[in-house]
Amino acid sequence: MWNSERGCEAPKRGTISKKGRAARLGTAFRALIALSAARELQYRANFFASFLGAAFWLLMAVFTVSIFYEHTEVVGGWSFWEAAVLLGVFNALVGVVEGVLRPGIGSLPDEIRHGSLDLLLLRPIDAQLYLTFQEVDLWRIADVITGFALSAYALHHLGRTPSVGEVALFLVTFLAAVAILYGVWLTLMSLSFWFVAVENLSTVFDAVFEAARYPASAYPSALRLVFLFVLPIVWTTTIPASALVGRLSMSVAAGCLFIAAATLIISRAVWRLALRRYTSAGG
């Protein structure tokens, strides 16, 4: 990979075949996950603690939502069990954020500050990919599992079995939601190349994302517009949950997919811009 005649230079993309590159990425991905798994499985006590903890906090969240429903059958058009479906989706997304996003690209400000980013950039794998998966917290899968369990249970309570199409739509929009959150995180973290104090921006994300516990229609219309244009992350729970409870129109779903794609493309561009600036500035 390192061409000794040219000295230390980043490997040119075209030097490996496409198939080889994909295989390489696959191997690297598997290796990283395996490393995380090996690390965490050492602490078997974590297993029980994670699930117990996840279940407890989820119950607290359900209880919180139920307070509102003591006084009304429907909030923003959503019944209690429908809202519970959404809460399950929220929990699952939090699991993804805490399990993958925060330990991965969320560590970027720290890496920059401690200089370990340079080491990362030397690796023959795309830096963004490596950064994303280098530190996966597998125990947060407990949040994903308990979240989906809650959604399933809530659907059962509604006497509703989603059709295959609806489940497919849910999975697609869920992944789109993950993509949007990923893109937002990547963009936020890329800012740390320009501003050092950005690590606290993840605090902003957390605070705002809390609003996604409830369906977007539960909020006053003025706020809903703000969410749509300024803070789209608040819609990331509403849309997949809508698929499960049968409220999702195809146009909204398509819009969601479009936004997900756009987010990924834009955030990748921001990332590459930031990286180029970083490497050209000499770190």
């Binding site: 209880f63 919180t64 006084h71 909030v75 104090a197 605070a207 705002v208 809390e210």
Partner: protein, 270 residues
């Protein structure tokens, strides 16, 4: 120098240092303030929708708006983070030099709180005033007597939360999980202190549990005095008596845990 002079100078010096450090961490404080605002804002948003054009058990949109603005302010003025500091001090070996001072570490913590709350409280008040300028609903009726009573209640409420937080934080002398305990308490406190909803609107059993504990006296009571809504505005005497009782209770608990924690520290070091 008299004792009063000595202690005034000590507190003055601590407050001054804490204030100057806070200035440096402006950005951090601003972000934490964001949390302090979004949580009540979300609750208000939902209740606003639920109330619709009418009311929920007597709470109209206007009541909710005033209530949650009050919660935002009072929460900022009473919340206590000292449990995390104590944890940090012990873990990093910074407890030693604090124990060697001729004054107990609790004083530094109190002074720190005063500086922090003065700063953050001012910001929230300004935001409230600005909002009130464009949104008449959140304007409070002018009632200086009420405001004075509310101020006293806020100080007492802050004292309760401080000694509660500090006492639980001192469990760090025995366990590394003290901040987990505090986190759990804070989560439960969201319900029981009236931050999610006025206690009237909670299920009866929850409201009963809350009244038996100190949580409402820290937030719901001062908020009621200030905004005229929240369920405690007609229980002024009961409120103040309860506040004093819980303040003394947590202060005594702090003293007890401190004495024993100090002994534990002297046995096992840090």
């Amino acid at each position: 120098m008299t004792a009063v002079a000595v202690w005034s100078k000590r507190y003055g010096a601590f407050i001054r240092s804490a204030w100057m450090v806070d200035i440096q961490y402006r950005a951090d404080i601003a972000l934490w303030l964001l949390w302090g605002i979004t949580e009540p804002a979300i609750a208000l948003g939902i209740w606003w929708t639920v109330a619709g054009g009418g009311d929920v058990d007597g709470y109209t949109r206007v009541s909710f708006a005033r209530y949650f603005f009050g919660v935002t302010l009072i929460n900022q003025l009473t919340q206590a983070w000292d449990a995390w500091y104590i944890d940090h001090w012990i873990a990093e070996g910074e407890m030693n030099h604090r124990l060697l001072r001729p004054i107990a570490p609790v004083h530094e913590a109190i002074a720190d709180n005063i500086a922090y709350k003065a700063r953050v409280g001012t910001i929230v008040i300004i935001v409230w005033l600005l909002t009130a300028a464009v949104w008449p609903i959140v304007r409070l009726p002018v009632a200086p007597e009420r405001w004075v009573l509310a101020a006293v209640a806020v100080v007492l409420g802050a004292g309760i939360r401080f000694f509660n937080g500090f006492a639980v934080g001192l469990l760090a002398f025995w366990t590394t999980r003290a901040s987990d305990i505090i986190e759990l308490q804070m989560a439960i406190g969201v319900f029981l202190s009236g931050q999610l909803a006025p206690l009237d609107l909670l299920p009866h059993w929850v409201a009963s549990v809350a009244s038996a504990l100190w949580f409402p006296y820290a937030i719901a009571f001062p908020v009621s005095l200030l905004t005229g809504t929240g369920g405690w505005e007609h229980h002024i005497v009961q409120g103040f008596v309860g506040q004093l009782a819980w303040l003394i209770a947590w202060w005594l608990l702090y003293r007890f845990i401190w004495r024993n924690g100090r002994k534990e520290y002297g046995a096992v070091g840090g």
